[in-house]
Symmetry: C2
Subunit: 265 residues, 2 copies
């Protein structure tokens, strides 16, 4: 895809994610006890928000980009053997969402032959959009201001700040031990964050994110944002992270290499 | 203090915390590497923000409320034996602040003979103000909308969502074991949050916050918000939490009793 085409896809992805924002935020911080009265006992705001956001994005993408594949959390894959494939996580960070913490986001990405090329994370309650595409750089829009995203460079592992959504994301004992090794070698570890932590890495506020048990749609839309800001994202052994699993995101190639050597899976 | 007086103090506290917002957010997400060039190697945005916010609030409070005590994180206590005492945490959640996560806040509270009566938490990046006072209820203002805060009722411990800023806040082994007991009895535990977690409890999104190693200024301004929303805050043995230490905040008296019995310090 040439830069003009990439830019068009990036603009479309940003516009669609922002358009979907009010659908999600309409369910954010809704009280179960209030909603249950009109909608029945099993109403779950995050499930409804997930479905409605994905349905909206799928319909728009399929009408504007015929022939493209679509992979989403809720309704799975359609035509995913196509060269270009949209990837949707309608609400990344459902536990943040259901606890009222605005660290969740709407993720929308585009892969080309399996490689993430365009990515958007939109947080409608705060009003932030993080976006990036291969060779086009990465940006944060918040209110009327736009900031160029750039990872923090020249940070060694011993000075690094590490984020991870929750210590329990590591199901396998080997993964947990690997995480504890890298966390022990860092200056500071913080929990929480989901997609927001990867965006803080692209923003140069955080140096490492190490997680496991990710799905493709959890990480593929974030990879172009991080890479276009100067960071590196791989799986736990240095291969592509686009399929999820154990993921290591770092602000620089040197820090990534140091983290991977410490993780030593 | 009668309701009119309380309201006046609440209004003043909200106005001052919001006025201090831009001082803090001016340093939020500033890059150390950028700032260092002009200000010298030891420049630390959160330390500077902390000092400037507290200096501003202290000066305003001392000129508007002569004879009142002031207790702040940065410059300690002045005239704290006075009947009425302002309590300031200029940036609660410094680790959130330095990692770019907008879950920190400016805390300002008023105690009367040691009892917290008025409290405000202002998050300037998101543009939220949580506030409350004894008998006057609690509110969240975000953009142009105001929401009445009310904790979630009728949640048993087994269904509760628990927040805690970080597992390492429990220095004493007994405290850590007590936390693990209560966390194990809850439906879900999330880490991160600082003052924001207590506000989510007041908002009815979270049911419990259990932490240790708190200072008076970390918790005293949050107590009136939680209590005015229907929650209960004590130390680990059911006494006043106004001095900090081990703190148990719950959305209802019944849940608080159940949590305290499980913590069993």
């Amino acid at each position: 895809m040439n830069p003009d085409e990439l830019q068009q896809h990036l603009d479309a992805a940003v516009a669609l994610a922002e358009h979907a924002g009010p659908i999600a935020s309409g369910y954010f911080r809704q009280r179960l006890d209030v909603q249950d009265k009109s909608r029945g006992v099993h109403f779950d705001p995050v499930t409804v928000a997930d479905r409605e956001v994905e349905r909206f994005l799928r319909a728009e993408l399929q009408s504007r980009f015929p022939g493209y594949g679509v992979l989403g959390e809720e309704d799975g894959g359609e035509n995913t053997e196509a060269e270009r494939c949209w990837v949707i996580d309608p609400i990344d960070g459902t536990r943040a969402f259901i606890t009222g913490m605005p660290a969740w986001g709407i993720l929308l990405g585009l892969t080309e032959r399996g490689t993430p090329r365009v990515g958007v994370m939109h947080q409608p309650y705060i009003g932030e959009t993080f976006s990036g595409a291969s060779g086009l750089g990465a940006r944060l829009r918040h209110g009327g201001t736009e900031t160029t995203l750039a990872t923090r460079r020249d940070v060694a592992l011993a000075s690094a700040i590490l984020y991870c959504t929750h210590p329990d994301v590591f199901i396998l004992q080997d993964d947990r031990t690997a995480f504890e090794r890298v966390a022990g070698a860092c200056r500071m570890t913080r929990f929480g964050g989901d997609c927001y932590a990867y965006c803080l890495l692209a923003l140069g506020q955080v140096d490492l994110v190490v997680e496991s048990s990710l799905q493709s749609y959890d990480i593929a839309p974030l990879i172009p944002i991080i890479e276009a800001a100067g960071g590196v994202v791989t799986d736990g052994r240095g291969g592509s992270a686009a399929q999820g699993g154990f993921v290591v995101a770092a602000g620089s190639p040197a820090l990534h290499a140091e983290a991977l050597a410490t993780i030593a899976l």
